[in-house]
């Protein structure tokens, strides 16, 4: 039975709400991400029965239980691989992956880089709380070096992955960063991710109130966020700061954070963000910016068109179907060296 699609039914956010209780801790950053996703889904234009949420294991990975779509809560680290199969089976589905920093960067690291390399058209929501939440507080591959956690009583000695940097290393076509406490930014970023054709990686700085409370506070704190974040938008100059008087500029092939008005610097000297630049050198720079030298880059940092795995796959399938004389198994079994025995 081939799958049929109903005429596109305009979904509303009510369509995506489930009666079931959301079992994250009170104050967990997950709650606001969930409502931003529910808000954005109707805007993506996907018929509601075509939307699939796939997750691994972790607090964040409970997500599919809290949203009324097709959902698959799978194995720790394997959501990317399962989603790859879903898309290779049916490219018309709108597939969202919800994963944690442990799920995607530790056990799932390989599937993460491979789905990106293949550029399969899915949206990855990476809840980066820099800790293993569900198993109660061990460090993850994104935990800042030196952090004291249940498995690092003297502080971690491992360097932390930056999901954006790894995405670039794996030739990612879309990477964005956002914050659980900024619904407006989440909504814009999620919509852009959904619109991108290819693997969209969205890193969400999410707060785990229980095991890594305030781990992002230098970036997301109410008092500092305007100075410590830069919300990048394609085509706009790179300005940030409470006073909107700080910016990013290239000097001798290096990027610098500068103040408009000082040393004769004007807005025109600032870099204009080009998210569509095929060459990712600048995006690579942006994703690695760190406090205190730089603000932390937010928004859609890279969004580049490229061939999508499942489209190419079905192009080959269509071509083969058209060109081959073998239309079914009887044809196949009688092709090539067949011997007749008169017995």
């Amino acid at each position: 039975m081939a799958t049929k699609f109903e005429p596109l039914s305009i979904a509303t956010k009510e369509d995506f709400k489930l009666g079931a209780p959301v079992k994250w801790c009170a104050g967990c950053g997950g709650h606001s991400v969930l409502s931003s996703v529910i808000n954005v889904l109707p805007e993506t234009g996907a018929p509601k029965e075509n939307i699939v949420f796939v997750s691994g294991i972790g607090c964040s990975s409970r997500f599919p239980y809290y949203i009324n779509t097709y959902g698959f809560h799978s194995m720790h680290g394997r959501a990317m691989a399962i989603a790859s199969g879903i898309k290779a089976a049916n490219p018309s589905l709108s597939v969202w992956i919800v994963t944690g920093d442990g799920d995607s960067m530790a056990i799932g690291g390989n599937h993460f880089i491979h789905i990106i390399r293949r550029n399969i058209n899915v949206n990855i929501l990476l809840f980066n709380n820099k800790i293993y939440g569900l198993t109660k507080g061990q460090y993850s591959p994104t935990t800042p070096k030196g952090s004291i956690t249940k498995t690092s009583p003297e502080g971690t000695i491992e360097n932390a992955f930056k999901p954006g940097e790894l995405t670039m290393g794996a030739q990612g076509t879309f990477y964005a960063r956002t914050v659980d406490s900024d619904p407006k930014m989440m909504r814009e970023v999620f919509a852009a991710a959904a619109a991108h054709k290819g693997t969209s990686v969205v890193e969400i700085l999410q707060n785990c109130v229980i095991f890594a409370n305030q781990v992002h506070k230098e970036i997301t704190g109410k008092d500092v966020r305007k100075d410590n974040q830069i919300y990048l938008k394609h085509g706009e100059p790179m300005i940030f700061g409470k006073e909107r008087n700080r910016g990013l500029m290239m000097k001798c092939s290096k990027m610098e954070a500068v103040t408009i008005g000082e040393n004769g610097i004007t807005e025109d000297d600032l870099i204009v963000h080009n998210a569509y630049d095929v060459d990712d050198t600048n995006h690579y720079r942006l994703v690695r910016m760190e406090l205190p030298e730089f603000p932390v880059a937010m928004g859609v940092i890279r969004a580049v068109d490229s061939t999508v795995f499942e489209s190419e796959l079905y192009n080959q399938v269509q071509k083969a179907k058209k060109e081959s004389k073998i239309k079914n198994m009887d044809d196949l079994m009688h092709s090539g060296n067949v011997f007749e025995s008169k017995g």
Partner: protein, 615 residues
């Protein structure tokens, strides 16, 4: 054409081709098999090659072989020992002398029988002059030299010319077996379709070999094997791996679905992936994943999305897939896991055959995680059991593990081409769009399967996953009694499959002294040995298991009809141990071998006689 010497009519004959990895013995073997099939012989083949890509030339470790057994009666194995051995160098001779019958014809390429080669092969003395070949009919042909001469005059450079020597061998054999050399020419024309220069040179060398054989005195007799009688219809030769791939493709067609294979290459299962990737024209999609876990995970995703999903691997890969198989058990999604067994443990003997993944297939997952397990028993019936694996998986909504092995996978036999309209129907329990009162874990009481609703279908949105599911609703449940019920449902669902599979059959008398029990790929050797002894008047029967979990419903009853039961397998006794746990009332004698080799008819007969004498 000069007149032929005396022709000996044979019922069956075993030919072994052996040489360096680069000598083209696999090709000659294929060509000889196809020709035999063409004239109507039954046949069974088995290649046998080193685990290195091109193991050092001239060494015993580097010998690559191909054995063909042809017959005018039914042929069930590639044969224990060869009637004709082709040895392209001393190493090939050394490696194969123990697999050659007394009095066999041994064809050697005399150009490679020199001191340098003897030493490489590990000979201390020249085997041609130490009497070790006494009693054999040794044909010493200057194969390299003559091939090179002919091929270079046909325009090939020296290096390419040397690659034609397998056609000299082929020519020799066409003469020896009174075969029409035209068939060999056609084979070459097809093989080198786009390279006319190669066709020309190879045909010239083929004729050179044929003519050489005719000319020399050494081959005083030639052989003839009649076509099989009673075998009527269209046939082709097929290897186990190809048959497995085709069985899955056929099942997809019957079920009205498209096939999805998510795999990672691994010897000896890789050809299944390589075969399916060729059939995009049938809508089949093969995904070469980054590892085994991604392979099966993607297949689970594809199954969720409504494809007939499969994954293919060998032992180490199956070990990696255990966690994911558990997820398929819990989510009750259809999934075929093909495991082509090879020598273990660990990397083990990756190019050799073994049956030691049985317990892994049954139990290699956390928790109570039952799977249907079935096994193919000949290269050709890999087609049927792959089809059956898919049918059971789709209709019962649970993963099925199909076991084959290296011996079946690489071996080939003559296969009667089935008609798709005669294959059984496959009816997956799909849910209709917008079905009322849909619950993802609602069950059909007949098979206990849940129903399959697929993303994209309106009105059926639902969520599944690896946490324990609530009965009927499918929601996450931590309720103690629910867990008990669900564990039992999953187990019963698998056990109920016994109502949908054939009863266990016995070949030979339905009761008697000795029941030989086999499972999977050992069928050929077992049936041959059992038939031989029964022909000698012994009270002996065979029952070969293809359905492992669940066992057929009449298993206990079958066992009860015999005085002794002997379980033969290529491991340390895994099936015997499983039978003890399922049907403890019988005593199971064992014959086990774990040498990377298939069972031999000769050793089995000795063992059977021993047991029979003790009754």
């Amino acid at each position: 054409m000069a007149k032929k010497n005396s022709v000996i009519e044979l019922d069956e004959v075993v030919v072994k081709f052996a040489g360096d990895s680069g000598d083209g013995m696999q090709l000659t073997g294929d060509q000889f098999s196809d020709t035999s099939a063409f004239i109507g012989n039954d046949l069974s083949t088995f290649p046998d090659y080193p685990s290195e890509i091109r193991a050092p030339q001239g060494t015993v470790a580097g010998v690559s072989g191909f054995q063909v057994h042809i017959g005018h009666k039914e042929v069930s194995t590639p044969g224990d020992q060869a009637d004709v051995l082709v040895a392209m160098n001393p190493a090939a001779l050394k490696a194969n002398m123990k697999w050659v019958k007394d009095g066999a014809t041994i064809i050697i390429d005399i150009d490679n029988f020199d001191n340098k080669h003897y030493k490489k092969a590990g000979y201390v003395e020249d085997p041609l002059h130490d009497n070790s070949l006494e009693g054999y009919n040794v044909v010493k042909a200057p194969i390299t030299m003559l091939s090179r001469n002919v091929a270079t005059s046909a325009g090939l450079d020296n290096k390419t010319a040397d690659k034609t020597k397998n056609q000299f061998v082929a020519g020799l054999l066409y003469w020896l077996f009174n075969r029409d050399i035209k068939i060999g020419e056609d084979f070459l024309k097809q093989k080198f379709m786009s390279k006319p220069a190669l066709v020309k040179a190879n045909i010239a060398v083929l004729h050179e070999g044929y003519n050489y054989a005719e000319t020399i005195e050494a081959l005083s007799t030639t052989f003839h094997v009649d076509p099989v009688k009673g075998k009527k219809g269209l046939f082709r030769t097929i290897t186990g791996n190809q048959a497995t791939a085709w069985g899955l493709l056929a099942a997809a067609e019957k079920a009205g679905l498209e096939l999805y294979l998510g795999s990672y290459p691994i010897t000896p299962a890789t050809e299944i992936l390589q075969e399916i990737v060729k059939h995009k024209h049938l809508g089949a999609v093969a995904f070469q994943a980054e590892d085994e876990i991604a392979g099966i995970s993607s297949a689970i995703g594809a199954s969720f999305a409504g494809k007939l999903a499969a994954t293919s691997t060998s032992g180490p890969g199956l070990a990696l897939k255990g966690e994911a198989i558990g997820l398929a058990v819990m989510t009750e999604l259809p999934l075929v896991i093909v495991n082509v067994q090879r020598g273990g443990p660990s990397t083990g003997l990756p190019t050799k055959t073994e049956q030691a993944d049985l317990l892994q297939a049954l139990y290699g997952r956390n928790g109570e995680s039952p799977c249907i397990v079935i096994a193919a028993s000949t290269p050709a019936n890999c087609f049927n059991y792959a089809f059956e694996a898919a049918k059971l998986s789709l209709e019962h909504m649970t993963p099925v593990i199909l076991l084959t092995d290296s011996f079946l996978a690489n071996g080939s036999e003559l296969w009667k081409i089935p008609k798709m309209k005669e294959m059984p129907a496959i009816v997956p329990p799909r849910v209709e769009d917008n079905a009322k009162d849909f619950y993802p874990y609602h069950r059909d009481p007949k098979r206990l399967n849940r129903y399959w609703a697929v993303p994209g279908q309106p009105g059926l949105r639902h969520r599944i996953g690896g946490l324990e599911k609530g009965d009927v609703t499918g929601e996450v449940s931590h309720d103690p009694m629910n867990h008990q019920i669900m564990v039992e449902h999953r187990e019963c669902k698998v056990q109920k499959v016994a109502e949908f599979i054939p009863e266990q059959e016995v070949t030979g008398p339905e009761s008697g002294d000795l029941l030989v029990v086999g499972w999977g790929g050992s069928y050929g050797a077992l049936i041959s040995a059992v038939t031989d002894l029964r022909d000698e008047g012994k009270s002996i029967s065979l029952t070969q298991f293809n359905y492992i979990n669940p066992l057929p419903g009449n298993t206990e009853e079958v066992f009860s009809r015999f005085k002794k039961i002997l379980v033969c397998e290529l491991n340390m006794g895994q099936f015997a141990s499983y039978l003890r746990s399922k049907h403890p009332r019988f005593e199971y004698l064992q014959y086990n071998k774990i040498q990377g080799l298939p069972l031999f008819i000769s050793e089995l007969k000795i063992k059977f006689n021993e047991v029979l004498e003790s009754i």
